[in-house]
Symmetry: C3
Subunit: 130 residues, 3 copies
C-alpha cells in the first residue's frame, strides 16, 4: 500500500477478514504486522476524531521537526520521528480466531499506521491453527 | 469485570493459569487481550508503588482533563485519554506455555489495565498448542 | 546475558535465527520475549544514530533521576524508570515463520532492550508450528 501523507491510519480489518476466510482456519491465532520499521499495526476505534487526536499526540511525543533533532537523520533520512512513533503504537497485533472469525470485542478494528508515507509498504498476515 | 475507578490495574495471572489448566495444553502459546479499546493487558511487577507511578505517568502523557482537549470527546464520550493510555500499555500479551505452565521470568505477572472504568469489560484468553 | 550499561540495545536476530533452525519448524509463529520486567524485546533498525535517539527519548519520557521521583524506588530499588521505559518499547515480538525463515521486511532486526543493566537476564524464544 502507499499512504499519500506522511502520517495516517488505514482500516485494514476487511483485508484481514478476507485472508482469514481464504485460509479456512477455524481455531487459532492471526498475526498482523507491519513489515516496515516506520509503520505500525494496532487495534483501536475507527473514529475520525480519535485519529486526529492520535496524530497530534504522536507529533507531540516525537515531533518530525526539527529534522536535525534525530541523529538517525544524519544517514540522509528524515524519518527519525517515525521510528519513535511506531514504538508507541506497536509493530503488530495477535488476534484470536474462533469459529472461523476474528474474535473481537465490540469496537475493535485493525489499523495500519503510517509514519513515513508516500513510500510503498507491506503488511504481513500469518494465520496458524486448524 | 467492572473496575470501580476510572484507572486501575488488576492482577489476572491466576485466572489465566486456571484457563490454561482447563485447556490441558502442555506446549504452545497463550494470547491474553483486552476486548475493549480503552483497556490494556500487560505484564509487569505486582508492586503497589509501581502501580501508583504508572497512573501518575500515564496521566502526564495523556491527561484526562481538559476533556475538550480530545476531538474524540465530541462524540459525547469523555474517554479520549483512555484510548491514548491504552496504546502506551498495549492491548495484549502472548505468553509461552511450557510443560503445561505459563513460562514466566521471576517477577512476571499479568495485569488488566483499565483506563475508562465503571463499565463492564472482558478479557479474552486464547490458548493454542497440544 | 549481562549488558554492561544501565541502558542499551543488543541485536539478537542471529540467536533467534539459530533457535529457529534448530527447531526445524517451517511454518508457524516465533515468540521472543524478555523474561524480566525492566527489559524489552522489540523490532527496529540496526542503526547507531537511532539507538542514540531512542536512549535520549526514553530518558526524556521516563527519566532515571531523581530516583525519589518513583514510589517504586521506596522498595530499595532504583529502577522505577526502567519499568516505564520497558512499557514504551514493549515486552515481546511475534514473528511469522515461513519456509523455515523469520518472515521479515527489509530492515527488521530483533533487539533486546536493557533498561536496568549490569544484572544477568534472559530472553525466551518459543516457536510453534510444523
Amino acid at each position: 500500500m502507499m499512504v499519500p501523507a506522511r502520517m495516517d491510519f488505514v482500516n485494514i480489518t476487511s483485508d484481514v477478514e478476507e485472508a482469514l476466510a481464504d485460509s479456512g482456519i477455524q481455531e487459532g491465532l492471526c498475526l498482523i504486522n507491519a513489515m516496515h520499521i516506520t509503520a505500525s499495526v494496532f487495534i483501536n476505534d475507527d473514529e475520525s476524531g480519535l485519529k486526529h487526536d492520535y496524530k497530534r499526540w504522536l507529533e507531540q511525543l516525537a515531533p518530525h521537526e526539527p529534522v536535525s533533532g534525530y541523529r538517525h537523520n544524519m544517514t540522509g533520512e528524515d524519518n527519525g520521528d517515525a521510528h519513535h512513533k511506531r514504538q508507541i503504537m506497536g509493530r503488530e497485533v495477535v488476534v484470536a480466531v474462533t469459529k472461523g472469525r476474528l474474535h473481537f470485542g465490540p469496537w475493535e478494528q485493525i489499523f495500519y499506521g503510517e509514519f513515513d508515507g508516500m513510500r510503498k509498504k507491506r503488511v504481513l498476515i500469518k494465520i496458524i491453527g486448524e
